[in-house]
Amino acid sequence: MNFIKYLLVGMFFGIVLVKSEAVSWYRIFEMFKFQSFHMYGIIGSAVLLGILAVAFIKRTGLKSFTGQTINIAPKERGFTRYLLGGSIFGLGWALAGACPGPMYILVGTGVFSMLIVIAAAILGTFVYGVIKDKLPH
């Protein structure tokens, strides 16, 4: 079954984010207070290794398992949407202590009140989709 590999990657993701404590509201609070290196170490080492790996993929033209060259889509150009949208996201991230990945993972850890946060996040996405043409991008 084609989907099993995605299920396994998701499981691995969930386990890593719980075991690293990156899903913890407390760790996010601590990060924004600059009181521990923990979260910076996680994100920093992930990005550093990611930069090397992506450069390697581009240089060697590595193929995906279907035989196509791996192509990592560049982000659309822009400034306002990234700064404004990012700041709005940051406000929510620090309040909920969870970004979209951890939100789902935390439901699995037994925090069912997170379902309210997820429902509100779906609503937020919906409202963005409805009013997006009126926003500066």
């Binding site: 990657v9 075991k19 400034f79 929510g92």
Partner: protein, 187 residues
């Protein structure tokens, strides 16, 4: 086994997160968790209200499977792969949280002061979760990605827009943590 049951250090966790992104690249996909929120909107018929939700959401089903896996992974990590050790927060963080009325910081993954049903089932508690979720959902789509799409994948691919988005994440996060949380919570 002992090392697996204990919390994992950052230098193990960070590279493992990179490996998840690389696996998804190898499968010809991308690493982006917030896209699922848009997919769920489209599945629910949001295409009736905006073109933004009129796309082939079925092509995104693989990402929903990642979500189902992530939920399962969260369950496995907590119930099978944990020794119940507290989160080793900085003493300064624990002091600051005490001052805001949060007790027992780090004993659980999340503060019961926000996520226990006793807290959630009050007007203030419910408002906190709804506003937080709304800001995350709205902001992430406006910015075109979240921590996985911008901070991890975008920065790995040296994308300037992602750097701007991550700076935004921090502007919002610092304002919330330093100025707004003290207004919401005070002991």
């Amino acid at each position: 086994m002992e090392y697996i049951l204990q919390p994992w250090p950052w230098y193990v966790s960070g590279p493992l997160i990179t490996s998840i992104m690389l696996l998804l690249f190898y499968f010809g996909k991308s690493f982006g968790m917030s896209s699922n929120l848009r997919t769920l909107c489209s599945m629910g018929g949001a295409g009736k209200y905006s073109d933004f939700f009129r796309y082939d959401w079925k092509s995104q089903r693989w990402n929903l499977v990642v979500v189902i896996g992530a939920i399962t992974g969260g369950f496995i990590a907590v119930y099978l792969l944990s020794d119940g050790s507290a989160i080793a927060l900085s003493p300064n963080t624990i002091d600051d949280l005490n001052a805001l009325g949060f007790n027992g910081a780090g004993e659980t993954l999340l503060p019961p002061e926000i996520f226990s049903w006793d807290s959630v089932l009050t007007f203030k508690g419910l408002a906190i979760l709804i506003i937080a979720g709304f800001l995350v959902g709205f902001g992430t789509r406006y910015a075109g990605g979240c921590t996985s799409g911008h901070a991890i994948s975008g920065l790995s691919n040296l994308q300037k827009p992602s750097l701007v988005a991550v700076i935004g994440f921090f502007i919002g996060g610092l304002i919330m943590t330093h100025f707004i949380l003290p207004l919401i919570f005070s002991a």
